[in-house]
């Protein structure tokens, strides 16, 4: 056993058993005088305190830009009274026993749930450590009971002016009993949670300077890089291939067939890319998808005319429509969308004697572990996952079939463990291989009574289930296809909602805010149209309908007030509003829009958000800014076009996203709250499309019902 000193006075003591105890004694003149054992404090699975005072928070959630590393560290540091500058964060291994998302039951990041499910767990972890450090200081100083306080990674005895750093106390604290129950702070005692500028992002510096490691940057000894030639159409497969020319490319090591295509394996990316370009593959297109976007659109619109699976019925919407003084019907349509993360999909798989190591920035470790294990004939526990930063995800790396990780595992298997292999998708692979936000059609009918009150809302949502074909699919129907409609809180006495979930053969998956990404568009544009039909101001009209939903009402009022709703604008500019709740978080946005050269231009967005107790205010602002720009790219330009089972768009010149000069000035206002915290990664996205569309409707004099706008 070794022990720590603050001065270097070393004594060697012979022990009865013949061993040596190296005793290093401190002479700090502050009392005690006994040895402080050197050691690391690991009170639970979520943090470690090293003798140098470094606090390592172990994040069970993927950091993909949303700020979860900083958020989880804030929770630990708050209860621990840690010095923020000594806090760092690492990714947890795949281990569902210790690191399950408490809302999912498996290890995974998504649904804007990281802070919501970790709020108590990570605070408790920090409070436990603090308790043990205080116990250690009591033991060291020979004091009992209260009187000790903690601040900035020190235990302090104010009456005598004594203080000990957490690092010094770590070893002794590790010998203290782990408390079963620890009290958590009252919010009034928070020093980090909800405070400005005290807990900046833990990852900003390394990311700015290129020191952060993404999967794309991983290099293992002897590692090979693989690119895969995928079928040009969904449902096609390899009929045969000639790899003579590919193998002749310097640096190409092997060419192997895998279930999803033909992999060219090389010493580095460029050799693999050149080899893949030289590869001649014959495709069997007999089972290929024949549909095009226009066919799918037609099918969705056809289904919108037929009774679907009922998901909500209040009163009698048909009767209320029949008796209404005025009715409105609109059909909305949105296309398939790509996630288009800046870092295209990739994954490193290394097979060794005991199992495999997967290095990836992926959202759902428990599913990925099982899927890779199945390919490699291993038990899930034999697959270790090293989670790295993801260069964006937006739901793409919550791979419902673990598709690209499984593909990498197949290549590793085909190479019989000869070398670690890094699968890299090119941008074109990434855009075309799919898992898109599904295309949707919404047919909505509404009725006003003679006094202009909304008395009927009839809504049919038609589109593929994002979860279909995965372990996460609902046993029946597609809850995500109607989220945001089914739980709409506008006080309408007669509501009917049903859905169809066709599967036309285009692979789909959750995309930032999932169903809310299109349901908010349909609902909020329709509310505006009903307001117009009633001759009412859109904010006033909503205000009345939201009288029983104070949180939704509060964000609406705040956004409208800060945006100067109703105040004059320059000629050619209009405002549009939308309010939506997703993942438990309430967001209202007011967009100021004009049209220039046939393209809408969004000048300013004022956003109000209520996400319960705000943990990191600046990260909340960042996520609203981010969600708005992401949603705006989709609203203005986002469209994946399918041509007989083949995706037309390939790179970012054809899949346009908002640039700096096109990005609006975003202003975020956070509603103070004592409610349990909810997420912010997704809820900023749903309101922007309808807010912009509603402003355009003012300029054009007719509702906007299809996206994209350009």
């Amino acid at each position: 056993m070794s022990t720590l000193t603050r001065r270097d006075f070393v004594r060697v003591t012979a022990l009865a058993g013949g061993g040596l105890l190296l005793g290093v004694y401190g002479c700090d003149g502050m009392g005690g005088g006994e040895a402080l054992p050197v050691g690391t404090l690991e009170p639970n699975a979520f943090l470690r305190l090293d003798p140098d005072g470094t606090i390592t928070v172990i994040s069970k959630h993927l950091e993909m830009g949303q700020g979860t590393y900083t958020g989880l560290a804030t929770l630990v540091a708050e209860e621990m009274d840690a010095d923020w500058n000594r806090v760092r964060v690492v990714a947890a291994p795949a281990d569902v026993e210790r690191y399950a998302n408490l809302l999912f039951g498996i290890q995974g990041t998504g649904g804007s749930s990281a802070i919501a499910n970790s709020f108590e767990q990570y605070r408790r972890a920090g409070a436990t450590a603090r308790h043990m450090l205080v116990s250690a200081a009591q033991s060291r100083w020979g004091v009992r009971g209260g009187g000790l306080v903690t601040e900035a990674s020190e235990v302090v005895e104010p009456t005598r002016g004594r203080r000990l750093g957490y690092g010094e106390l770590a070893g002794l604290a590790a010998t203290m009993p782990v408390p079963e129950e620890v009290p958590l702070k009252e919010p009034s005692a928070f020093r980090l949670i909800g405070r400005e500028s005290v807990a900046p992002r833990v990852d900003a510096r390394d990311k700015a300077m290129g020191r952060a490691t993404f999967t794309q940057d991983v290099k293992r000894p002897g590692m090979l890089t693989a690119l895969v030639a995928h079928p040009p159409r969904f449902g096609a497969s390899v009929a045969g291939f000639d790899d003579t020319a590919a193998r002749a490319v310097p640096g190409v090591v092997d060419v192997v067939q895998i279930p999803t295509g033909v992999a060219v394996v090389a010493e580095h990316f460029w050799a693999a890319k050149t080899g893949r370009d030289a590869l001649a593959v014959r495709w069997d297109e007999s089972q290929a998808v024949n549909r095009s976007s226009a066919d799918i659109s037609q099918e969705l619109r056809r289904l919108a005319g037929h009774q679907g699976r009922e998901v909500r019925r209040d009163g009698d919407a048909e009767a209320a429509l029949a008796g209404a003084a005025r009715t409105v019907e609109l059909t909305f349509e949105v296309p398939y969308l790509a996630h288009a993360c800046m870092e295209p999909m990739n994954c490193v798989v290394e097979v060794n004697g005991n199992g495999a190591v997967v290095t990836s920035g992926a959202q759902i470790q428990t599913l990925d572990q099982a899927a890779v294990a199945a390919v490699l004939d291993l038990e899930p526990a034999q697959v270790r996952i090293e989670t790295l930063y993801a260069g964006g995800s937006f739901g793409r790396r919550a791979a419902k079939t673990s598709d690209y990780m499984v593909e990498a595992a197949h290549i590793a298997r085909a190479l019989e463990g000869r070398a670690p292999v890094k699968l890299v998708w090119t941008r074109e692979d990434d855009t075309r291989s799919g898992f898109f936000r599904p295309a949707f059609v919404h047919r909505v009918r509404g009725g006003l009574d003679g006094d202009g009150r909304l008395v009927a809302w009839w809504h049919r949502a038609v589109g593929s289930s994002s979860a279909a074909g995965s372990a996460l699919a609902a046993p029946e129907g597609d809850p995500s296809g109607v989220e945001g409609i089914e739980d709409m809180s506008y006080a309408v006495p007669n509501v009917y909602v049903d859905q169809h979930s066709p599967e036309p053969g285009v692979p789909v998956q959750w995309w930032r805010s999932v169903g809310h990404s299109h349901t908010a568009f349909a609902v909020e544009v329709f509310v505006d149209e009903m307001a117009r039909a009633a001759g009412r101001d859109p904010v006033d009209f909503r205000r009345e309908l939201l009288a029983d939903d104070p949180r939704r009402l509060a964000v609406l009022e705040l956004a409208a007030e800060r945006a100067g709703w109703g105040s004059p604008l320059p000629a050619g500019r209009a405002r549009g509003v939308a309010v939506h709740r997703s993942f438990g978080t309430y967001v209202a946005q007011v967009a100021e829009v004009s049209e220039e050269g046939g393209e809408p231009r969004v000048h300013r967005v004022v956003c109000a958000v209520d996400c319960g107790i705000p943990v990191n205010p600046d990260i909340i602002r960042m996520q609203m800014e981010s969600g708005i720009v992401y949603g705006l790219s989709a609203a203005l330009f986002g469209r994946i076009t399918v041509d007989r089972g083949r995706v037309v768009e390939d790179n970012l010149n054809r899949y346009r996203i908002v640039r700096m000069s096109e990005a609006p000035e975003v202003e975020v206002h956070i509603v103070p709250s004592a409610e349990a915290p909810t997420g912010v990664g997704e809820p900023g996205t749903p309101p922007i499309a309808p807010a912009v569309a509603n402003a355009l409707a003012v300029l054009r004099g007719r509702p906007v019902t299809t996206l994209p706008l350009v």
Partner: protein
């Protein structure tokens, strides 16, 4: 054998002369701060400087990079004005595009030490960010400009 001068150091590189500089930097020289995003010079994630001018390294063949002074993110001084501005503005989210953004910003500030918003938009419009950090990047560039000019932050 081709030689490259990167961040003031000379490297001998054995590679196909058509191999893009991006992959030479990343896979052969292990300078991974320069990122791959599109491969066709539309996203800016691979931005480096060639003789001080911003360039998309994904479309610059090795043969065209020979004899030029190449600067990558690894050549930007640690703890300098750009790093501090990026941290103060809390610009990065996923972070993948940010090194390209900083390289574009560094080139802008070298030619225009006090850029307007419009000049920033013009210089930065080819650098895409999927997390939508544009307004913080713009703020960071103004902060760095002030810092470099020796003004109060």
């Amino acid at each position: 054998m081709p030689t490259l001068s990167v961040n003031g150091r000379t490297h001998e590189v054995e590679a196909d002369p058509s191999m893009p500089l991006l992959w030479v930097l990343r896979d052969l020289l292990e300078l991974t701060g320069t990122k791959y995003g599109c491969g066709i010079a539309v996203c800016g994630a691979c931005t480096v400087h060639l003789d001080g001018q911003p360039a998309r390294s994904c479309v610059v063949p090795l043969s065209a990079a020979e004899g030029r002074e190449i600067t990558t993110i690894e050549g930007i001084p640690a703890g300098g004005a750009l790093e501090e501005a990026w941290v103060r503005a809390q610009a990065p989210q996923c972070g993948y595009c940010q090194t390209g953004q900083i390289m574009a910003a560094a080139a802008l500030l070298a030619s225009d030490p006090s850029p307007t918003d419009e000049a920033i938009d013009r210089a930065m419009d080819g650098n895409l960010c999927r997390c939508g950090t544009y307004q913080r990047i713009r703020a960071a560039i103004h902060l760095a400009a002030r810092d470099m000019a020796g003004g109060a932050p």
